[in-house]
């Protein structure tokens, strides 16, 4: 139900979405980034710290891959504001608060044990 009077491209137009090629590249990259930590963990290839580091790095890389190949973070309709980028930045800020806040609270909490 797009309201055509304000923005004729607001809805239902396919031109803004990715191509089959970019979807396939994104899919292959995601699978590779999933298999790496799986192999590392299943074969006990590294020490614990190194393993955790590899899992984290591949996770963040996969997050970036998905944003660019599936989540259309580069897309923009007309000269509308970049709502998706704004939402992403705000989301990252909240994630930062959630993670660092939890670490802070729980770290001090551990002192009590």
């Amino acid at each position: 139900m797009a309201q055509h009077s304000t923005d004729s491209h607001a809805h239902g137009e396919d031109h803004a979405h990715g191509s089959l090629k970019s979807y396939i590249i994104g899919f292959i990259l995601s699978i590779i980034l999933t298999i790496i930590p799986l192999v590392v963990v299943m074969n006990h290839m590294f020490q614990a710290t190194a393993t955790i580091l590899i899992i984290m790095i591949t996770a963040v890389l996969q997050f970036v891959v998905q944003l660019f190949f599936f989540m259309h973070v580069r897309d923009r309709t007309g000269n509308q504001p970049r709502w998706n980028v704004m939402a992403l930045i705000f989301g990252l800020a909240i994630v930062l608060v959630v993670v660092s806040g939890s670490v802070w609270i729980m770290a001090y909490n551990g002192v009590g044990y």
């Binding site: 139900m1 309201q3 009077s5 304000t6 809805h11 608060v97 609270i105 729980m106 001090y108 909490n109």
Partner: protein, 658 residues
């Protein structure tokens, strides 16, 4: 064979309590009455076409509010039972286990299945109309959200008669909610009821953000949006960032219970405190989710019923957005006593006190809007005026609670109980009632009876203070929450009796409201103008109830109070008395769909399977969900156009009498 069935049934159904047998009978009779009634009056087809499969935001809104009033009744009965037990603590009206279940379901039902759907109902009814839009951005998703909420709520409520209710408190803290201490299906009902309705809440949040960003009438910039729509925007921002945290937290708890993981267990490296930390990251923003729309409602009502523009529009917007942002930085004030040290507690105490500043700004803006206004004391305004002192006291005690060292005294006492009921009833419930009375004529085309409404208002207000003021004192006397019995030598007896009387007064108030609605349906005070309150915003520029396409011609906006400005211009002779005949164009509308209700039913089946750990049933349900998604993605015929002749006919018939 017969023995086996008997064994199964005595486990499956909740047995042994006369209260529950009574409920079984009344639920059964009510269901038979509904089925017989619908069949007798041949209303099945009407119900299916007009409500169960509708994607019309106005009808979805009505269904939300209806469901939420039912849930208010259920949560209210829970409250009355608890208060009865506490007035006669040694009577064993409720056994301790039963009492635990009652306070758990009271909390969950009131917050998640009463306040949230009431809020979503008002979003649905009001926001597209205030924006000058024909529907929300994703009408199909909107219907799906409603049915997910409704069947999630039904799954949760089913625990009352099947399997047993959850009993670990409304946020179900581990280790009590872990398998070790809570092996029954009650906790699973809690997890799956909330998860399923949570998907709906998240989708609604996204839906309304997109609607507000993309579907405003031409000329309506962000700073010309009505204040209620602004509050919805702020709320939806919180919803889409807070609800995923709840989903993940409950999923981790379920993995603990289902797959034997150790996220929150006492042994195996788990840490129950992590759950408390995570759940309040959703839980605190959640209370702002439900209060911000109430602030928006009050802003609309105060300006309309004072016959003035809203004082300090810009500061209102910024106050709301600041509250939305800071709400993500205050969660640890719910567990100051956890012992995270002085630094952590000081930070979260300060951020909590900070919230009081924008809230205070809003209160003063409302007072200044009323200042020198010609105030009309209709029901919506009455509730607004009842709200202000109540919310100020609640806010003040909130600031008292935010002082971390003092909180060690207040924590989990009745002082806390009184505080959050004061902001949730005095703020949220009063706000939504005000909104219901204000927009009721827009929903149904007739007004609710004024006299009965005033009786309900006074019973609610007096009952509220009689019930909760003694609880502050009880808290200071050392009474803690979630206890079902106490000795007379504690000295808590008399105040508890007073408090219980207040609860019964509020129960009477609710009956007055039910009576008011029934009476008003029978003796309709029909509104033919569409603008019964002489209001300011676009929703009142169209007939009541609005036709299915809302606006025959999309309005063009050039001010903050478009309808009011238009009426003033017309009175001043700057606009012609009778507007020229509008030129209609065919209107693009979404088609009804039965997929939302079917898909949500499959979700319900899957959830029920997970509750009893019947994997076959859960898998069956999830296959059904996937099937519905696939079916929907191959549906191409999802919309239609209303031709011009039909618009002309509809407009003539509804405006003909004006």
């Amino acid at each position: 064979m017969l023995e086996k069935i008997k064994d199964f049934a005595s486990d499956f159904f909740v047995t042994g309590d006369p209260l529950i047998y009574g409920a079984d009978v009344s639920i059964g009779l009510a269901m038979i009455a509904i089925v017989v009634g619908l069949t007798y009056f041949k209303k099945w087809g009407w119900l299916w076409r007009n409500y169960l499969t509708t994607v019309d935001h106005k009808k979805i809104g009505i269904m939300y509010i209806l469901a939420s009033i039912l849930m208010l009744f259920r949560g209210g009965v829970d409250a009355i039972m608890m208060r009865t037990q506490l007035a006669f603590p040694n009577l064993e009206f409720l056994h301790p286990e039963h009492y635990n279940q009652v306070f758990t379901t009271h909390g969950v039902v009131m917050i998640l299945f009463m306040a949230m759907p009431f809020m979503f109902g008002l979003f649905n009814i009001v926001v597209p109309l205030q924006l000058g839009a024909r529907d929300v951005a994703y009408p199909f998703l909107n219907a799906l959200s409603f049915w997910l909420f409704f069947l999630g709520a039904m799954l949760f409520n089913l625990s009352f008669v099947i399997g047993g209710s959850p009993d670990a408190g409304w946020l179900s803290y581990p280790p009590l909610s872990e398998l070790q201490f809570n092996p029954g299906p009650g906790q699973n009902f809690y997890i799956w009821g909330i998860q399923i309705s949570g998907i709906g809440s998240l989708a609604t949040g996204i839906n309304f953000i997109v609607t507000i960003i993309k579907m405003r009438a031409p000329g309506m910039t962000f700073m010309k949006m009505p204040m209620f729509t602004w509050s919805v925007f702020a709320t939806c921002v919180i919803i889409i960032f807070a609800f995923p945290i709840l989903t993940v937290t409950l999923a981790l708890l379920f993995i603990d219970r289902f797959a034997g993981a150790h996220f929150f267990t006492l042994d195996g490296g788990g840490n129950p405190m992590m759950y408390i930390n995570l759940i309040w990251m959703w839980g605190h923003p959640e209370v702002y989710i439900v209060i911000l729309p109430a602030f928006g409602i009050f802003s609309e009502i105060v300006s309309v019923f004072s016959r003035k523009k809203l004082f300090g529009y810009t500061s209102m917007v910024f106050a709301m957005l600041i509250i939305a942002f800071v709400s993500f930085f205050t969660w640890a004030h719910h567990f100051f006593t956890m012992g995270s040290g002085a630094d952590v507690n000081a930070f979260f105490a300060l951020s909590t006190m900070l919230i009081a500043i924008p809230t205070g700004v809003k209160i003063f803006n409302w007072l200044f809007t009323m200042y020198r206004g010609r105030i009309r004391f209709d029901l919506p305004m009455l509730w607004t005026i009842g709200f202000i002192p109540c919310f100020i006291i609640g806010g003040m005690t909130g600031v008292l609670l935010s002082v971390a060292p003092a909180d060690f005294q207040y924590h989990n006492s009745y002082f806390l109980i009184a505080h959050f009921h004061q902001v949730l009833i005095g703020g949220v419930v009063f706000g939504y009632f005000a909104g219901m009375y204000y927009w009721w004529p827009k929903m149904f085309g007739f007004k609710l009876n004024e006299t009965l409404g005033r009786w309900a208002f006074w019973f609610w207000n007096i009952g509220f203070y009689v019930c909760f003021m003694p609880q502050y004192l009880l808290g200071l006397m050392g009474m803690t929450r979630r206890i079902s019995t106490f000795d007379w030598d504690t000295g808590w007896g008399p105040l508890n009796v007073v408090s219980t009387m207040g609860a019964y007064l509020m129960g009477v108030a609710f009956l007055f409201q039910v009576l008011q609605i029934a009476y008003s349906i029978k003796h309709r005070e029909v509104d033919t103008t569409g603008d019964i309150w002489d209001a300011h915003t676009l929703e009142w520029s169209i007939p009541s109830p609005a036709p299915e396409y809302n606006f025959a011609v999309v309005p063009v906006v050039d001010s903050r109070d478009p309808l009011w400005v238009e009426k003033q211009r017309r009175a001043a002779g700057k606009l012609p008395k009778n507007p020229p005949k509008p030129v209609y164009a065919p209107i693009h509308m979404p088609k009804n769909s039965s997929i939302p209700i079917i898909m949500s039913t499959f979700f319900f089946i899957a959830g029920f399977g997970f509750v009893f750990l019947w994997t076959w049933m859960a898998v069956l349900g999830l296959i059904g969900v996937a099937g519905c998604m696939i079916a929907r993605s191959f549906q191409y015929d999802t919309d239609y156009y209303i031709p011009v002749e039909e618009i002309e006919k509809t407009e003539a018939s509804i405006r003909g009498t004006v």
